[in-house]
Amino acid sequence: MNGPAPTVHDSAAPLPSDEALIVDVPGWDGPLDLLLTLARTQKVDLMQISVLALAEQYLVFVDRARALRIELAADYLVMAAWLAFLKSRLLLPPDPAAEGPSTDDMAAHLAFQLDRLAAMRDAAARLMARPRLGRDRFVRGAPEAVARTRTVHWQAGLIDLMQAYARLRTRDEFRPYAFDRRDVWTLEEALERMRRLIGFAGDWTDLAGFLPDGWGGDPARRRSATASTFAASLELARQGRLDIRQEASFAPISVRAKP
């Protein structure tokens, strides 16, 4: 490393390689990455490395980083603690009463993790080196779009057709129902008439007597006038302005002003 790093050079002469290590702490992709780099300096075959030596290297690294007040991320410290534990176990004779994985298992697993990480790095590099689409291999430059032809099946039956026609041709026939009130005595008209007349009905009077002049003959007109006059009398009864009486079913209905 030839980059200037004043804080490091001020310190008490560490080994040149260690110096490089410390300067580039943030350059590691976590403690496993750092361990892998350290292991590579030992051996190419990661399953043959000395885990004890590796643990020592790592711990030395962490100590130096601390001495230089370089802040290490928490997981570097977790790893340091674990490696210190592993180192102490590796230095002691195996304790048959110890629980959990054996020291050998732990060491082997670390070696496996390093080997696996190295393998994935290698795989990534091989993948990226493959002939790639858009760089080495190309798709059709002028793809021919598939034309979508839309076939619409129209849903219309003979009934629809005839109903449409019937609707058109009979439009005039049913207009009168809506707008021509020649033969309709409306509720409003009946109410108006009843209000005027009820004051004169001091005694029971047949409802038929309230029908307007000229509405008693034609059955359709009589029916309309009777219905709305009856409805109007109900409304006035509700308002407390008259009483209604019917002697029996289908008997004539009589009304009188409320006394």
Partner: protein, 213 residues
């Protein structure tokens, strides 16, 4: 074509032209190809060989002006079509116009408008013509010689009619109860008081059993 040249052998050049034309988004001229290929190549010769190779295949080398491109063989164009079938209901306006044409043919646009009581929007007749149910008939020998409209064989086919004379007449429609007496929304009270009660009930139930009897 000299065998000992330092530039790629012809089969290799043919592969190059093939790849170039495949990947290009625009047709390429011989100049374009030569500019991309190693010096000393002969794209014209490679192209000529490639054309022979693709002759009669599913894709062919087509000449576009003085450039070249791969194109699907013309007889396979049908593969590039994706047919989508959709079912749609005819609009009320279209149904009415179709009914008028069927009952009154040959009929002019003005007559259709008179019967419907509203102006005909441009698209409605066009749509029916597009669908193949209505076509232009003879011109009416009256002032202005307006075109008339008639229904087509396809129409009769679709509706299962031998001829338009098979369409039931107005009287029959009425007898069958097909008249739709639904009034435009109006004051119900007045109607209820009048004699229209029976009609209202019919309107609410536009019976499917109209043809039952």
């Amino acid at each position: 074509m000299t065998g000992n040249a330092p530039f790629p052998p012809m089969p290799e050049q043919e592969r190059m032209v093939e790849a170039l034309l495949f990947a290009a988004s625009q047709p390429l001229t011989l100049r374009d190809m030569a500019a991309r290929m190693p010096a000393g190549c002969d794209p014209a010769e490679a192209l000529a060989r490639l054309r022979v190779r693709y002759d009669g295949r599913g894709v062919e080398l087509a000449r576009v002006g003085d450039a070249w491109a791969f194109r699907t063989a013309a007889d396979l164009g049908f593969l590039m079509q994706d047919a989508v079938i959709e079912t749609r209901r005819l609009s009320r306006a279209a149904t009415e116009v179709l009914a008028i044409v069927a009952y009154h043919q040959p009929v002019t646009r003005t007559e259709i408008e008179e019967i419907r009581g509203v102006a005909l929007s441009r698209g409605t007749l066009d749509q029916l013509i597009d669908m193949g149910w209505v076509r232009l008939g003879r011109r009416r020998p009256s002032p202005g010689r307006p075109v008339t409209f008639v229904v087509t064989e396809a129409f009769l086919d679709h509706f299962g009619l031998a001829s338009t004379r098979d369409l039931p007449g107005l009287g029959e429609l009425r007898a069958a109860g097909l008249l739709d007496p639904r009034p435009p929304a109006g004051p119900r009270l007045a109607l209820a008081a009048g004699g229209a009660q029976a009609d209202i009930v019919a309107a609410e139930e536009p019976g499917c059993d109209l043809f039952g009897d």
